[in-house]
């Protein structure tokens, strides 16, 4: 019962959503919009579950003084601080429990949550992702260079796109005559993006779409039940 009842629920809601597409009349429209609203609320709780799990994991490491516990304490403090500021005084136009923090805004120039977001979260996020520039370049060089036709195709395309999309591309091949206009780097990059790239993206979309349709059908019919987890 513990595992068969959820499968029946999944079947019923899945079938209702499918039927609503073919019977776009009352009560199916209302049922589907209600289900979509419920979905949003439940997904909000699911995100809360993720955050609780993060807190539990960090607390466990701190309490048992596992390796690098001090850094996890810093993470937990920053989490608590950001959460408290957001809940107490809100974010952007949204007021918090204690209102709009007009006094603090006069002092900080903005809400405390937004101040922390702009001066800590954004720089950290941008720098972390910019750091990947170095690692992507070195990893790609080691992984792909002179390993065969496919890997060279990947690197050559990447180089053409990078050169073609920056001013260096215009500078390098800007002197080409009109008859060789196609080989001008920006035009070559445009061609790659418009045709071969679109073709491959379409192949991926169609194939993934077919896979999703198959998986959805398996879930609705109760064949795929791994999402229920172990039988505890």
């Amino acid at each position: 019962m513990k595992s068969s009842a959820p499968l029946i629920f999944a079947f019923i809601v899945g079938i209702i959503v499918l039927l609503s597409e073919f019977i776009p009349h009352s009560p199916f429209n209302e049922i589907v919009s209600t289900l979509e609203g419920w979905f949003m609320i439940i997904s909000g709780f699911a995100i809360l579950l993720g955050q609780i799990s993060l807190i539990r994991m960090n607390t466990h490491k701190i309490v048992h003084k596992l390796d690098n516990w001090q850094y996890h304490l810093a993470g937990l403090i920053s989490f608590g601080l950001m959460l408290a500021l957001g809940l107490l005084w809100g974010m952007q136009e949204t007021p918090g429990i204690l209102g709009d923090a007009t006094g603090i805004q006069a002092w900080l120039g903005q809400k405390p949550f937004d101040y922390l977001f702009e001066n800590a979260y954004l720089p950290l996020s941008a720098t972390l992702f910019s750091l990947l520039a170095f690692f992507i370049a070195s990893a790609a060089y080691r992984a792909f260079i002179i390993r065969g036709l496919e890997s060279n195709l990947l690197m050559i395309t990447a180089i053409i796109v990078i050169i073609g999309r920056t001013s260096i591309g215009t500078m390098l091949t800007g002197w080409l005559p009109e008859s060789l206009h196609f080989w001008h780097f920006p035009n070559l990059a445009d061609f790659i993006m418009e045709f071969p790239n679109t073709a491959a993206q379409r192949a991926i979309l169609i194939s993934a779409g077919l896979g999703i349709v198959g998986s959805s059908l398996r879930i609705i019919l109760g064949i795929e039940r791994s999402y229920l987890g172990g039988d505890k």
Partner: protein, 212 residues
């Protein structure tokens, strides 16, 4: 006072930026500290965002404004609380019900949405007359598009062993996929370099005032 806090904000941002960049030398306590602070801030940011953009307008505000009129919202609220039961091993099974409803709804919606947008629309867009274009490169491009799409889709057909002619078709599909991955890779590198330039611009401009 705002000016002092602005300056403090710039120094805070510069500190975190340098902490992350210190990883280029090697893993160190500053990087580990900044990494965990980022995890904490990121988790809290998304939680606050979800609370204000989803939970408050769709649940709490409606219940507070008209409880009896929106009493049906107690069902998703109860399902949400059931979802939280996953935390404890003994009550974990209760979370299967909200998960089943979410998965069932997603399956129904995805099946229809992907059937329309990712399968039918893409197939329709590929069924073109390649020779109807104005210029030779466009005709070649259209032919490449049709061949690439067919061969690419064939590459993902894993139900039968690919050998002989089908292996050759699949191989052509791989070439097109590699070109696409190369283009995506190129864009990713450019986006990351752009972020790097942004951070260097911040350090040398806003923080050190060496450039304007």
């Amino acid at each position: 006072m705002i000016s002092i806090m602005n300056t403090f904000g710039v120094w805070l941002a510069a500190f975190f930026t340098l902490c992350i960049f210190s990883f280029l030398y090697q893993d160190n306590p500053f990087y580990k500290f900044a990494e965990q602070v980022f995890v904490g801030l990121s988790a809290a940011y998304w939680l606050v965002y979800i609370i204000y953009s989803i939970m408050v307008p769709n649940l709490f505000a409606k219940l507070a404004a008209d409880f009896s009129g929106n009493i049906i919202l107690l069902i998703p609220a109860a399902l949400g609380l059931m979802m939280l039961m996953r935390i404890h091993p003994k009550t974990q099974w209760i979370s299967r019900y909200p998960i089943a409803i979410m998965v069932g709804t997603t399956a129904g919606i995805s099946m229809l949405r992907y059937m329309k947008s990712d399968i039918l629309q893409q197939l329709t867009a590929t069924m073109i007359n390649p020779f109807a274009a104005d210029t030779t490169p466009e005709v070649i491009g259209n032919l490449l598009m049709i061949i690439g799409t067919i061969c690419g889709v064939y590459f993902f057909y894993f139900s039968k062993k690919q050998e002989g002619v089908s292996k050759a078709v699949s191989k052509v599909g791989i070439w097109f996929l590699m070109v696409s991955f190369g283009a995506t890779f190129g864009y990713t590198v450019m986006a990351r370099i752009s972020l790097l330039i942004g951070r260097l611009d911040f350090l040398l401009g806003d923080w050190l005032h060496l450039i304007k």
